[in-house]
């Protein structure tokens, strides 16, 4: 059961995501000899140096060979280890897709994959390094679990759960500071979305860095008299279909917000869930099937419309659609 509390104020969390991640893994490693960390020449980036220093025998830098890394992780898990591998999200998925599919998932082994710097958080590293597609690639693999971690508090809790949950997990997070959403000590339930703020008119289902934007948009829209529910859908797979259906039933209009291509990511997962349960109009805030580029994260957020303002606009659009006599449906009340 999740036991979380939302921060009163939205501020940059003082702890970097990668530091939370490294700390969480080191805690686990101190309790469990089987925890192993692997990286592909990005230890300096992943912030895992403390782990590598503390547990040199259980920390492996495979060099620039992501496919090999995932295969090695699968083999390690076949002899009882619990390997956590890291690369940038682009390479952690695109370069390893076949290995994750066969050596890890199909073989039913126990491999945890962290893809860092999703979407615009790749900033200056530019288009080749800016994964807008990583979730889409991973979501096609059966039975894998996909979690986009929202803030350092969630990282601490999720990393521990993932270590205990046998199977293949893909974790996604920026490396540096993000807006803190949850009070320290909060806990989370994989597979369940979190309602961060209630509302009746529309639900914004967001993930990752877009959660803070969604909360900001909700606050702003309140002044316009629009009551916005905000859900942090940190588990993209298996997505929380029940909650999505409930939100559709209760608010009758949905906006999705993600730092990812609208094809293949959270927007798709929500659209699928709705189509199979409670059809509802959806507006998707996310990357419109385009490639990344260099820039500051701020510049990129504007460039790709990953903003509070865009969420507000999407809410307004979806409310228009909701109001409209719905083709063959009319609104019940």
């Amino acid at each position: 059961m999740a036991m979380f509390k939302v921060m009163d104020k939205l501020e940059k969390s003082p702890v970097m995501m990668r530091d939370a991640y490294c700390t969480a893994l080191m805690d686990l490693a101190s309790e469990n000899d089987n925890i192993v960390a692997l990286d592909a020449d990005l230890v300096s980036s992943s912030g895992m140096k403390p782990f590598f220093n503390a547990y040199p025998e259980r920390a492996i830098n495979v060099g620039i060979a992501e496919a090999n890394m995932v295969g090695i992780a699968a083999g390690l898990s076949a002899v009882g280890k619990i390997p956590f591998v890291h690369s940038f999200g682009c390479f952690a998925t695109r370069k390893t897709c076949d290995q994750v599919m066969i050596s890890a998932a199909y073989a039913k082994l126990n491999v945890k994959i962290l893809g860092s710097d999703p979407g615009v958080t790749a900033a200056y590293n530019g288009g080749t390094h800016m994964p807008f597609e990583d979730i889409g690639v991973m979501r096609s693999i059966p039975q894998i679990k996909i979690i986009e971690m929202t803030d350092p508090t969630m990282v601490s809790d999720i990393v521990r759960q993932v270590a205990e949950d046998y199977g293949v997990h893909y974790l996604r997070m920026p490396r540096k500071n993000v807006t803190g959403i949850y009070e320290p000590g909060s806990t989370f339930e994989i597979g369940k979305g979190n309602i961060l703020r209630d509302g009746d008119d529309v639900t914004v289902i967001a993930g990752g860095i877009m959660v803070a934007e969604a909360l900001r948009a909700a606050a702003r829209l309140k002044d316009e008299g629009i009551s916005v529910r905000v859900v942090d859908m940190f588990t993209v797979k298996p997505v929380d279909t029940d909650l999505i259906a409930r939100c559709a039933k209760e608010t009758r209009a949905i906006v999705t917000a993600e730092n990812h291509n609208i094809y293949g990511g959270l927007g798709s997962a929500v659209a699928e869930a709705l189509a199979k349960t409670v059809p509802a109009p959806v507006e998707m805030v996310g990357i419109n099937d385009s490639f990344g580029q260099v820039g500051t994260e701020d510049w990129l957020r504007k460039e790709y419309n990953l903003t509070e303002g865009e969420i507000c606009d999407a809410v307004r659009r979806v409310l228009q659609r909701k109001k409209r006599k719905f083709l063959w449906f009319t609104i019940d009340n």
Binding site: R58, A67, N68, G71, A78, V79, S103
Partner: protein, 337 residues
């Protein structure tokens, strides 16, 4: 070098595996005959003598592992495992049956005794490395064996693994390349010439041996030397013939074949004869030894850990009644992977 098991006996085991593999393929009517035949002797050495395992406890933690990275050679491994006692021979009829436990490519979750799921070429080396590394972390003396195809070595992942294993001095990893000089579309020298594979692995820092891959004694010696080697991973290049021991040996299009009843019968007959010859030679050796050492204290060498393979219960009748003819859409010759 002194071995617990004689080459003559290993030869019997090898020909037994060959025969049962062919019977297994016969049950289905088509399959990867070429690449199955070329690793028979290696499997005989591993499961007849060198690989530590317990058919009664396939998940035994301290077992040695085999990653058959060229997973399409599954039938040869299945025959071996059934002979070894991992599962009853009747199960061999499940080859390629929907819902069965013997898929065309190896699957660790379906077949007792199969240590890794393979079929996408190039992946096995990394997994074997992970096992070897994990066993080293676990202070276990288990060894990890790996069998790759020569065509498979086209895959870059093989070389990623090769670099890594050498850097990490994984001397508990013993790999083989089945250098049968053919891949799916033809001869490797035509498709993608691997040149001197041994030299490549040497330049990647491996302890490399090159042996006749159909000579059980040579393979056994190489494995023994590999076990003794410290500080680097071992590569044994098996000089083999694809389809060895059958009419398909070395011919074009022998990667995946749909065989007629006649072809299959011919294969089985030849294999049975080979097995008989091997048995005769082994019996002669035993008799000779018995004559030399009439005392009961030294009977014929009996490997301790492969009861199922010795004596080898291979019958010459078909593995099973073919329940259905090879289905219409059975892959045409050379058309499948």
């Amino acid at each position: 070098m002194e071995h617990r098991i004689s080459a003559k006996e290993l030869r019997v085991i090898a020909e037994g595996i060959r025969l049962v593999t062919l019977q297994t393929l016969e049950g289905f009517g088509a399959g990867h005959i070429g690449g199955s035949m070329s690793i028979v002797e290696t499997l005989a050495v591993l499961y007849g003598s060198e690989l530590r395992c317990d058919p009664a406890n396939p998940a035994w933690e301290d077992r040695d592992r085999l990653v058959l990275s060229k997973g399409h050679a599954g039938p040869a491994l299945y025959a071996t495992l059934s002979l070894k006692g991992f599962f009853p021979k009747e199960m061999l009829s499940e080859l390629n049956k929907g819902g069965g436990r013997l898929p065309s490519h190896c699957d660790r979750n379906k077949t007792p005794g199969v240590d890794m799921t393979t079929g996408s070429l190039g992946q096995g080396i990394s997994v074997a490395i992970g096992m070897a590394l994990g066993n080293r972390m676990n202070r276990s003396d288990s060894l990890t064996y790996l069998i790759m195809g020569d065509g498979e070595c086209n895959e870059g992942q093989v070389w990623e693994g090769a670099m890594f294993a050498a850097h990490h001095k994984l001397d508990n990893l013993i790999a083989f390349v089945d250098y049968n000089k053919q891949q799916l579309d033809g001869f490797t020298k035509d498709v993608l010439d691997m040149g001197d594979i041994g030299a490549k692995f040497r330049s990647f820092g491996w302890f490399v041996q090159e042996v006749n891959g159909h000579d059980v004694a040579a393979i056994l010696n190489a494995v023994t030397a590999a076990k003794a080697n410290k500080g680097s991973p071992s590569m044994i290049i098996l000089d083999t013939v694809k389809g060895y021991g059958t009419f398909a040996a070395g011919i074009e299009g022998n990667h995946h074949m749909s065989l007629t009843k006649e072809q299959m019968a011919e294969c089985i007959k030849a294999a049975s004869e080979r097995l008989e010859e091997a048995r005769a030679a082994f019996a002669a050796e035993r008799a000779e030894q018995a004559a030399k050492n009439p005392a009961p204290k030294a009977p014929a060498p009996k490997p301790a850990d492969n009861p199922a393979l010795q004596p080898l219960e291979v019958t010459d009748d078909k593995a099973e009644e073919k329940e259905e003819p090879a289905p219409d859409d059975a892959p045409a010759e050379g058309s499948d992977a």
